[in-house]
Amino acid sequence: MTIWRAIAAAALFATAPALLAGEIPPDARRSGYSFMGPETRTMQDDDTSNPGMLFVLDGEQLWGKQSGSAEKACADCHGDARNSMKGVAARYPAFDKAVGRPVTLDQRINLCRANHQQAAPLPYESRDLLALSAFVAHQSRGVAITAGDDPQVKSFVDQGRDLFMQRKGQLNLACTNCHDDNFDRRLAGAPITQGQPTGYPLYRLEWQTLGSLERRLRSCMSGVRAQAYDYGSPELVALELYLMSRARGLAMETPAVRP
C-alpha cells in the first residue's frame, strides 16, 4: 500500500512541472477575462461586436492571397487554416531548428515569407502582421496552451523566468511583484491581472486597436520606467515563452478584448 503511494507520488512529481516559490499553481491560473467587467466580456464573447474579429477577417483574406516573388499564398502550402493551423498558436513560441532558438508566431510568419514566398518581412505591429497572426491564433480558440513543453526550449523558458523575476527600471519593480504577488489588487483603481497571455494578439480598448504581447510587455516596461526590449529581441521572445508556459492549460481566446 505505502509502496504504491510512494510510486504514485513519485510519478506525480516526475510529470508535474516543478513550481518555484511565488509561481501560480495550475488550478489557480486565471485569464485576464475573469478580471474584466461584464460589458468587456460581452464585447469579447460576441463575434459581431468583438473588434478583433475585423483583423481575423483581414487575416483570412491575406491567408489566401499570393505574396512575394514566389507568387505563393499561405494557403498554397498550408491549405485550409481551420485544419492546418488548429492548435498551432497554443504551442508558440516554438523551437526553430534553422535559427536554433524559439521564434514567435509573428517571427514564424516572417520566416515563411522570407523562405517560401520570397516576400519582404511585415513590420512588427503592422496591420497585416497582426491580421495574419490573429487569423492563425484564432484557429486555436479554446485549445489549451502547451507552449514550453518542448525540451529544446527549456533553457529559454528559464531565461524568460529570470527576466520575469528581475527588478528593472527607475521604479525597480519585477513583473512578479505585481502579477504573481498582487493580482486581484488594484493599481490606480484598475485590477491587476495574473498576466496570462491567453488572447494575443488582442484588442485593447486603451489602444483602440489590436496589439501583440510584445507591445504589452514593452508598455509594462515603460510603466516601471525601464528601457523596453526591442521587438523580436531574444529577451522579449524568452519572456513571451515563459509567460505562455506559465499559462499552461489555459484556453486560447484570440482575439481577446481587454480594457
Partner: protein, 138 residues
C-alpha cells in the same frame, strides 16, 4: 569643494547627502521645511506614483491603489524623520518591499533613457510630501 566635485563626477553625487539617525532622517534634505499644499498635489499626481499603490483621505479621486497601506493617519504613525527615510529608501526596512526608493539613482537595472541617473523625486518634492503626510492625522 570644486576639486572634490571634479574628482568623482558620478551621477549619484548629484543627490543631496543625508544622515540616517536611528530609523529616520531627522534633517530636511533641502535645509527647509516642505510645502504642505504642494505635497498634497504631488501625492495625488499619478506621475509621482504614490496614488497608484496607496489610498488615503482623497475624496476627489477614485483612482487609488490598494497595494500599499492607506495613508490616513500616516502623521500619527510616523515622525517626519521616519517618513523622510521611508520615502528616500524604503528598502532599508524591508529588502523585498515593492515601494521604490524615491531618492536613489544607483544600483538599478535598465533604467529608461529619460530617467537614467535621476531619482524618482527631487529633494524638494520629498520634503513637500513629507510635510503633507505629517498633517494626515486621525
Amino acid at each position: 569643494m570644486v576639486s572634490l566635485a571634479f574628482a568623482s563626477p558620478t551621477k549619484a553625487d548629484e543627490l543631496v547627502a543625508y544622515n540616517i539617525v536611528g530609523d529616520g532622517i531627522p534633517q530636511s534634505l533641502t535645509g527647509s521645511p516642505g510645502d504642505v499644499a504642494r505635497g498634497r498635489a504631488l501625492v495625488l499626481a499619478r506621475t509621482t506614483t504614490c496614488i497608484l499603490c496607496h489610498s488615503g483621505p482623497f475624496p476627489e479621486t477614485r483612482f487609488q491603489g490598494d497595494l500599499a497601506p492607506d495613508l490616513t493617519g500616516a502623521g500619527n504613525r510616523w515622525t517626519t524623520s521616519q517618513l523622510r527615510l521611508r520615502l528616500v529608501d524604503a528598502s532599508r526596512f524591508n529588502a523585498q518591499t515593492i515601494m521604490p526608493s524615491y531618492y536613489r539613482s544607483d544600483g538599478l537595472v535598465r533604467v529608461g533613457r529619460n530617467f537614467a541617473g535621476k531619482p524618482i523625486l527631487s529633494a524638494a518634492e520629498i520634503e513637500d510630501i513629507v510635510a503633507f503626510l505629517a498633517t494626515l492625522r486621525d
